[in-house]
Amino acid sequence: MNLSILILVPLITAVAVLLTRTRQQVRWVSLIGAAIQIILSLLLFVYYRNEVAAGNTAQMLFQQNYEWFPALHIGFHLGVDGISVALIMLTAFVVIAGILVSWNIEKMTKEFYFLLLLLSVGAYGFFMSLDLFMLFFFLEIAVIPKYLLIGIWGSGNKEYSANKLALMLMGGSALVLVGLLGLYFTNPERTFDLLKLSTTHIPHNIQMICFPLLFIGFGVFSGLFPFHTWVPDGHSSAPTAGSMFLAGISMKLGGYGCLRVAVYLLPEGAKEYANLIIVLSVIGILYGAFVTMMQKDLKYINAYSSVSHCGFVLLGIGMLTKTAITGAVIQMVSHGLMTALFFAVIGMIYQRTHTRMIDEMGGLLKKLPFIITVLFIVGFCSLGLPGLSGFVAEMTIFMGSWQHPDMLHRIVTILACMSIVVTAVYILRAISKVAMGPMKATYSHLKDAAWNEKLAAVILLFGIIAIGVAPFWLNDLVRPGAEIIMQKITGG
């Protein structure tokens, strides 16, 4: 399969959106583009499985390698393994849901969709890049659309949040850049190529310098404690689709980068810093969970719980076992789907009630049966109910963590498990306040979800339930990639 198409389709869609005239055209062009993209990503999944089933054991499949800046040894190198395929599918799901949810946006529709699509170009490119320069290019492409989405279409203290987000993410990517330059100049071939770099040995002292730069840099993107402060502000100020993209896709860029670049290329550094990573991520998990308990705003609840859930991703990566890394990737996909749906539902409720404060709602289940049912499912997924994706992901991470026999890892794992109880408390409290109890008279005229909202919810629910009921297909997809990373770690 030609991977360039996966970048070209959203790019062409974005350009086509610019050329349209009416709002109707803008929406349909974007929707068609996103639909093509989801079909392509599913095709990619099928092709990938076929290749693997046919005995192709190459690390990266469907590679395309062109020279981009030959003088600087920068290539345009694409390729996917199971981890990338999983995240590409996640992106496609979230993008189409995001476009459907923002169907009725009134203000500057064309610009809104253009920026959404540009953001998705960045994400697709990032997950497929095998050249670190390209990877960085796509990482940064995704930042500014977020800034504009929050600043123009957001709510609340949007300028502040947008600025904070853009500056913190750029700060993260500046650290990434320095780390990448370090990698470039220490390998004798002077290359940014991921596969070539993975076969050269990088000296221990360079690993000790570059690993923290890269890990913290990417960690900022996925809300690594103490660099998570942009998450709650950014998510709560963003428009619905913006929050979905931020939490569903953008935070996964960080996790993927930590795994694919920092841990994979610098295994010695990863081993040295592993304890620090797990301690920080457990602090993030617990801190996020406890702060969420105190929140009254639905968006803040989901934003802080994202800090907590993304902590699991970093925890899984920091554990450096095959099972835990597999779990981390599953958690990325699961959390991406779940949190996107959560934000979508919050957006739908907000559109109707014009409030996000849980104290002001109540009894909405009667009036909005579809939306609130989805809210229940998402909530259960978030607190790790078996049969939904959250359980699978967290369970795998815990199993991987428990493989370490020493005290620190045991304590950390137990603490992380305890956060699930806290999650249950805040999720159940929030949902019950929204759904049950007496209903305000002003809400008696509310209408349930429209077709576009239903479609968006169904698409994301499909993913959540599919992973929850049949986790093996995702597990099979991700495990070979995790194995290769583990080989690199154990092999030296």
Binding site: E67, L72, K158, A162, V178, F185
Partner: protein, 465 residues
């Protein structure tokens, strides 16, 4: 004679255009708009001619030297001048002395051509003066504005001062080595204390011209006082030309003492970036804002220069090309707003997107490119500068530079924010953009978008090394 014509082709063409403009003064009542059209066509031809028949060779006993890379550098400057003639059409049509302005501008450009081509410190000094004095007159072109005269005065005094220092440095170099020829000097440079002293004086003169901190104090006032066309010429073309010759002097003439200048450049680069960025944070006037941001940009150019490799040279030339597109586009938008409404403050731009989406997008593109955001060309320019600087494995330096990128992003986003996000009951009304200005802006936008992603621009410059 043939060699003379073929090697000095760029200079001869510019001189010819100056003469044509002089003759237009003979006839009475040439309208500004038709004169401007003529100028635009001539400058376009000048730019186009720069692509052909570029040879390598020396004239006047090594005083003048040219090769294909130098020809490209000159052509980048020609491109910049052509863009200036397009982008500031509003102001040009209003000004009373259009042909004089361009005669001065082209004389300065001629000086810069000789400057880049100079093979001897004497030639270097003469051409630098030729490139400076007309600009002082251009800075004073808003005759009715007091602030303009003040700026011009500051410019003249500070350039005279820096010329004095430069001459002193040159005479010390001559005293230390007995020659001022670029080809003979490298063999005689030994980094003795006396030579280092001479080099410091020379360096100071360069620092003045490129407004490297702490020699930047004239920049903001001159930029603010001058008409926008002069400001953009100063900040883009003039800085670019000096950067080109600076890099030649460092890499060729002073190569034997590279440890000395590496440290100087590194320190100055850090303080230049930090000072430029910190001052740009608080500016309200768009010209002063761009002035300080251009100081910060020079800091980045120094990062690239510190690489001391062919790659460093390539990345600087490439960056200047991109800088021409991005900074001129930003100035072009600011000038269009200023000459139609007289407003030059960032707070006046609030709600600008509602009324002028085209100008806002051009400004946004330009500022993103200056900030180094992909997929604009500025991203590639900045990255390659940092990359060439990182070759010395001085990670602290590169980290400081990379963190400065974030500070600069903050203030570029300030302008974006006030244009896109801030609410304003009475935004600036719809501005009618002149056709030629629009064309210039499209050219800049095309440059900003395509010069990065399509790698052949970089490859072409690289191939000339």
């Amino acid at each position: 004679m043939n060699e003379f014509i073929s090697l000095m082709k760029p200079e001869l063409i510019v001189t010819f255009i100056i003469f044509v403009l002089l003759f237009t003064k003979l006839g009475k009542g040439v309208k500004n708009s038709s004169l401007l059209n003529l100028i635009q066509v001539l400058l376009l031809l000048n730019f186009a001619a720069g692509f052909f028949f570029n040879k390598e060779g020396s004239l006047f006993g090594g005083m003048y030297h040219t090769d294909t890379l130098i020809a490209v550098q000159k052509n980048i400057l020609s491109l910049g001048v052509y863009l200036i003639s397009l982008l500031f059409a509003d102001w040009f049509k209003k000004t009373e002395h259009l042909s004089e302005f361009f005669i001065l501008l082209l004389s300065a450009l001629l000086g810069m051509f000789f400057l880049i081509s100079s093979g001897n410190f004497l030639m270097f000094f003469l051409s630098l003066e030729l490139a400076t004095i007309p600009v002082a007159a251009m800075a004073n072109f808003d005759l009715h504005k007091k602030i303009s005269s003040e700026g011009a005065m500051k410019f003249i005094l500070s350039s005279a001062f820096s010329s004095g220092i430069l001459l002193f440095g040159i005479s010390l170099i001559y005293g230390a080595t007995g020659t001022i020829s670029f080809t003979e000097l490298p063999a005689l440079i030994t980094a003795s204390p006396f030579q280092i002293l001479a080099f410091v004086f020379l360096f100071t003169a360069f620092a003045f011209k490129m407004s490297i901190v702490p020699f930047h104090l004239w920049t903001a006032d001159v930029y603010e006082g001058s008409p926008m066309a002069t400001t953009s010429f100063l900040s883009v073309i003039s800085k670019g030309a000096v950067a080109f010759i600076f890099i030649t002097v460092l890499y060729k003439v002073f190569q034997p003492m590279q440890e000395v200048w590496y440290n100087m450049i590194m320190l100055l680069s850090i303080i230049t970036m930090i000072t430029g960025n910190l001052f740009a944070l608080r500016q309200q006037n768009i010209k002063r804002f761009l002035a300080f941001s251009s100081i910060a940009q020079v800091g980045f150019i120094l990062v690239g220069i510190s690489g001391n490799s062919p790659e460093g040279l390539t990345s600087v030339v490439y960056f200047v090309l991109i800088y021409v597109f991005s900074n001129l586009a930003a100035f072009g938008v600011a000038a269009t707003i200023s000459s139609n409404t007289g407003k030059e403050n960032i707070s006046d731009y609030k709600g600008f997107y509602q009324t002028n989406p085209f100008l806002t997008w051009i400004m946004a593109l330009a500022l993103f490119s200056l900030a180094g955001i992909p997929p604009t060309a500025g991203f590639f320019g900045k990255l390659f500068l940092l990359k060439s600087g990182a070759a010395n494995a001085n990670y602290l330096f590169i980290t400081i530079a990379a963190l400065n990128l974030i500070v600069s992003l903050y203030y570029y986003l300030r302008v974006i924010r006030s244009m896109f996000m801030d609410k304003n009951e009475e935004p600036i009304g719809k501005i009618k953009v002149q056709l030629s200005t629009k064309f210039g802006m499209y050219l800049c936008a095309a440059g900003i978008v395509f010069a990065g992603i399509f790698s052949w621009v970089y490859d072409y410059i690289q191939s000339l090394m």
